[in-house]
């Protein structure tokens, strides 16, 4: 059931070409720990890509660069816009970043207020906000939770609400940090169906190689702040030596 958002107004300007371009991205944390060493990466529109690698490989750090939470260099271009302080608000509308821990994502008392935050901040008219919140909750199958208190939901429910909070912003690129971590099998299955049906370009970091195999035709392996492999998921998963060298297990 492919889901389409009902609105076509209030969109980012049209553009051609790759949705995401990263050229030679370096980053060190203030304590001196170097997290990224020369990342090169292009994502075409409509691609669904898995980002895998051991803990501490730099996956989360890379993701925080995609909407300018970290980093200030001109290495990242999103939807044709080079990332700089001036384009930052538009880039945040283009990139929907979902944090690993949904408690980090949700900061409002009710589900509705959290999902409405992005559209409200963009200054959309009230009718449009209601349409978007309903559509976003519908696409994560949480419509019945509109008026619930976020902090009393289960982890799986919080995860889906967290995804809805960025879907309501109609992003061009969805970036998810370990979406299946900590979910029970049923919640994981629901999430897989949800991600499969969303017609948005996706970059998803995960330790769940079975999920990567099922959902993402392309896979990127990171280790020690570098991209060590980038190719078709099925091919990379055949390469036992490569997987073992970077602490991964064939599903």
């Amino acid at each position: 059931m492919p889901h389409t958002h009902p609105t076509h107004h209030y969109q980012l300007p049209h553009f051609e070409g790759d949705i995401l371009q990263i050229t030679d991205l370096h980053f060190s944390y203030p304590d001196g720990h170097a997290a990224l060493h020369g990342i090169q990466l292009c994502l075409a529109q409509g691609e669904k890509v898995a980002l895998v690698g051991p803990n501490g490989a730099g996956k989360s750090t890379l993701m925080l660069h995609l909407n300018g939470i970290l980093g200030d260099s001109g290495a990242v271009t999103v939807a044709g816009l080079p990332l700089n302080p001036k384009t930052l608000p538009q880039i945040r509308a283009a990139v929907g970043l979902v944090f690993q821990n949904p408690d980090d994502q949700l900061f409002s008392p009710t589900v509705f207020e959290d999902v409405a935050f992005g559209p409200l901040h963009m200054g959309l008219p009230e009718a449009e906000i209601h349409i978007r919140v309903d559509a976003a909750l519908e696409s994560v199958r949480m419509s019945a939770y509109r008026e619930r208190l976020s902090h009393h939901l289960s982890v799986g429910e919080k995860k889906r609400i967290a995804i809805a909070t960025v879907l309501a912003m109609n992003p061009r690129l969805l970036v998810l940090d370990e979406p299946s971590a900590g979910l029970d099998p049923r919640a994981r299955r629901t999430l897989i169906h949800l991600l499969r049906d969303l017609p948005i370009t996706m970059l998803v970091s995960t330790h769940d190689l079975a999920l990567a195999k099922e959902l993402f035709p392309r896979m990127i392996i990171m280790d020690e702040g570098r991209i060590v492999a980038d190719g078709p998921t099925l091919e990379l998963l055949q390469d036992q030596g490569l997987l073992e060298a970077h602490g991964l297990e064939k599903p």
């Binding site: 408690d103 994502q105 949700l106 900061f107 901040h121 963009m122 200054g123 902090h151």
Partner: protein, 263 residues
């Protein structure tokens, strides 16, 4: 992404670091008390107090100017005493008129202001040095030995421990908001001031709820490990002969300083 901006302990191997924390806490409190008891304008006694601080710095292994360099942080608070300059006593030094207000600084007022400034500046340096050479758990331990009520020391210990956790939580909340603060071309973004204030209020509420629930979980974890209302540490402190010696020397120096001020 961790906040450790609050920790002011500087590790070093020095006589002052090795000194029993009780002696350090006691002498610091006594030093601050002694400063408070000095009358205005006894410059020799202030000078001697400063020498004592320099002396303590010298034995901290952190450099003679260590506490001096960090003491300016307290200056803005001392400015609260600025009004002392205009005490109507002694000789007037000048006359300033600002609109309808007339300000007359006097020599007595100026001396009083300088004395207040010096007292607070010396006391702050002692505090800075104390936290720089004493690890926080040791300090709490010292408070306990000095008969500070357990409820207070426990609160201080937990406050210190969870300050870092809370700051991290705040940083994550802010990051989440920043991440979804977007704009579209042609639309005014940011929402109304009232709405932004409400979001900030909600976030403060979230922080309170999370801290409250976390405190419950932590307390349960403590009970599960046998907590009965008292924190125990393995660092058993015993006063050596050296500790007693330094305690007596320090107290003797402070008494001498007080006598000098009263001559």
């Amino acid at each position: 992404m961790h906040a450790d901006a609050f920790d002011r302990y500087y590790h070093a191997e020095s006589p002052l670091h090795r000194l029993d924390p009780r002696v350090k806490v006691f002498l610091t409190v006594a030093f601050i008390l002694s400063n408070a008891l000095l009358s205005d304008g006894v410059w020799a006694a202030f000078g001697l107090a400063w020498l004592l601080i320099l002396f303590a710095n010298r034995f901290s292994g952190l450099g003679v100017e260590f506490s001096f360099k960090r003491s300016f942080i307290a200056l803005p608070f001392a400015l609260a005493a600025v009004s002392a300059i205009f005490i109507p006593a002694g000789q007037p030094l000048a006359e300033w008129t600002i609109g309808p207000i007339q300000l007359v600084p006097t020599d007595f007022g100026l001396m009083r202001f300088a004395s207040i400034l010096l007292r607070s500046w010396l006391s702050v340096q002692a505090g800075i040095l104390l936290v720089a050479v004493t690890q926080f758990p040791d300090m709490i331990h010292a408070f306990e030995h000095l008969r500070v009520p357990a409820i207070l020391t426990t609160i201080i210990a937990f406050l210190y421990r969870y300050l870092f956790v809370l700051t991290d939580e705040v940083m994550r909340l802010l990051r989440a908001r920043e991440s979804r603060s977007a704009a579209l071309p042609g639309l005014k973004s940011g929402g109304s001031l009232f709405w932004r204030a409400r979001v900030a209020g909600n976030m403060a509420g979230q922080l309170f709820l999370r801290s409250y629930e976390r405190s419950d979980r932590i307390y349960n974890a403590m009970l599960a490990r046998g907590y009965q209302g008292q924190m125990r540490t393995l660092r058993s402190h015993t006063m050596t002969r050296r500790d007693w010696l330094i305690l007596s020397l320090g107290l003797f120096a402070l008494i001498f300083l007080q006598l000098l001020a009263r001559l």
